[in-house]
């Protein structure tokens, strides 16, 4: 298996309009089976870094590489189908009316047939102990349940890497432990952004601090 990075940021410059530059000359790589924990003060650009990787923000300089290929309009869709991004707010992530529909949304977009997407979604839910939630309405789930279903909704796409933005925010210890267990079961590469140092230490093999636009 090649050790080429799945994702790489090269010489990235980025800043939001009307504000000082957030990143200048930033380099970052994510390799296979690498588990990175990312922490830093509020406003240091942790979420922005993930958004840059997923093509939700366009850098003013430098480039984003996916398997060594610069990300452009054509490769962006492939990147998003290969890298799972769990958003901080699950209500933004779970837009389908039922859990099953939401978890099957990604597989359907990958081109799977209806019955295949359905069984892929059920398989993912079962592997996470969430099979009983399949017909539940997403708006009626608790915070912890929503977060787990959010993770299921990206895992059902069988991604080669997972980016998680504050997966434990507003969760109790029990939900936090469940998410940790789920993450530990996955051997795919991941970047976890969190303020919860203990969670990062348990879920990541290397910790990276981001502050003042530097890593």
């Amino acid at each position: 298996m090649s050790d080429d990075p799945i994702l790489a940021l090269e010489d990235i410059a980025f800043g939001y309009a009307g504000r000082p530059a957030l990143f200048t000359g930033l380099y970052f790589t994510l390799r296979r089976q690498e588990h990175i924990g990312l922490y830093g003060p509020n406003g240091s650009g942790k979420t922005t870094l993930l958004r840059l990787m997923m093509g939700l923000e366009t850098p003013q300089g430098g480039r984003v590489l996916f398997h060594g290929i610069p990300v452009d309009g054509q490769t962006l869709h492939r990147l998003r189908c290969s890298i799972g991004f769990v958003l901080q707010n699950s209500d933004d992530q779970l837009f389908s009316p039922t859990v099953l529909e939401d978890v099957a949304f990604g597989p359907l977009n990958l081109g799977l047939k209806r019955h295949e997407a359905r069984s892929r979604a059920m398989e993912t839910l079962e592997s996470m102990g969430l099979a009983a939630y399949a017909d539940r309405q997403t708006q009626r789930l608790s915070g912890g349940e929503k977060k787990m279903v959010s993770i299921a909704s990206v895992l059902s796409m069988r991604p080669e890497a997972l980016l998680l933005d504050e997966p434990t925010a507003f969760l109790d210890d029990s939900s936090r432990d469940k998410i940790l267990r789920i993450l530990q079961q996955q051997d795919i590469a991941r970047i976890v952004v969190s303020h919860d140092k203990e969670f990062l230490e348990q879920s990541a093999s290397s910790l990276i601090c981001i502050a003042s636009g530097k890593i």
Partner: protein, 253 residues
């Protein structure tokens, strides 16, 4: 997708599309009926349906009460406004026979339609209604607009309640004052802005999972022989009702 509620009605095992088509057909047919006698038949038919379906009675009555509250306004105005034979007079105002007949007809038809809809769709969840509409070839954008509204109306409502709580916690007591109107305006504005921001984030979440402009669903709906039988019986009854109405109209002419 399972669609039987915890207290299932007799129609719970029918295909949701059959039920939606039947309810829509009934609404169309009942609204076209012009004879007052047949409007009573419509109500009788709806009552038979409700008796057979046994939807949750309290909820049914509650919803009928809300609809009839608005119909009450019709009774206050229409009998006085429609010209015709006078039944009674209150000073300069007179109640016409035609006005009363029209109000009664609207009341009967409205209640019949509501009863049919509430009975036939009692077991259907909003998502199931959405996916059934999609299979019935309703434009997919409209269907997903409906589904997204169902999904996020709770979230927006929750945000509105949080803003209200935040205002109350800082001593805000609504009154008829400029301060109240300004505060409520700010809260409403903020809710709209938050909703726009959220819609942007949801769109991003969709793109992140490979959305390319086409909506797909995994919900499978299957019509059984019992659906066909029910549909044939139900629509035959509706056609007979319309035919009887046309006959009555020609006889009166």
């Amino acid at each position: 997708m399972q669609h039987c509620s915890p207290t299932p009605s007799a129609f719970c095992h029918f295909d949701p599309r059959t039920l939606l088509l039947a309810a829509t057909g009934a609404a169309l047919c009942f609204s076209l009926v012009q004879s007052l006698a047949l409007a009573w038949v419509c109500l009788a038919l709806a009552l038979v349906l409700a008796a057979a379906g046994r939807p949750p009675l309290a909820l049914l009555l509650q919803r009928l009460a809300v609809a009839n509250f608005f119909i009450l306004f019709l009774w206050v105005t229409v009998p006085f406004a429609v010209p015709g034979d006078s039944l009674a007079a209150f000073g300069p105002l007179s109640v016409s026979r035609e006005g009363v007949a029209l109000s009664l007809s609207v009341t009967l038809k409205c209640n019949s339609i509501l009863l049919c809809f509430l009975t036939l769709t009692a077991d259907l969840s909003l998502p199931l209604i959405g996916y059934s509409l999609e299979r019935l070839r309703i434009p997919v954008k409209l269907v997903f607009l409906f589904l997204f509204t169902c999904r996020y109306i709770y979230v927006i409502g929750e945000e509105w309640r949080k803003l209200q709580t935040a205002a109350k916690l800082r001593g805000f007591i609504p009154s008829t004052s400029l301060h109240t109107y300004r505060t409520l305006g700010n809260m409403l504005g903020l809710t709209v802005i938050n909703s726009i921001d959220r819609s942007q984030r949801i769109y991003e979440a969709m793109l992140l999972r490979g959305f390319n402009g086409i909506f797909h669903t995994v919900t499978e709906l299957k019509a059984a022989r019992s659906d066909v039988l029910f549909a044939v019986l139900f629509f035959s009854t509706l056609v007979c009702l319309l035919a009887a109405d046309i006959c009555l109209k020609f006889r009166n002419v």
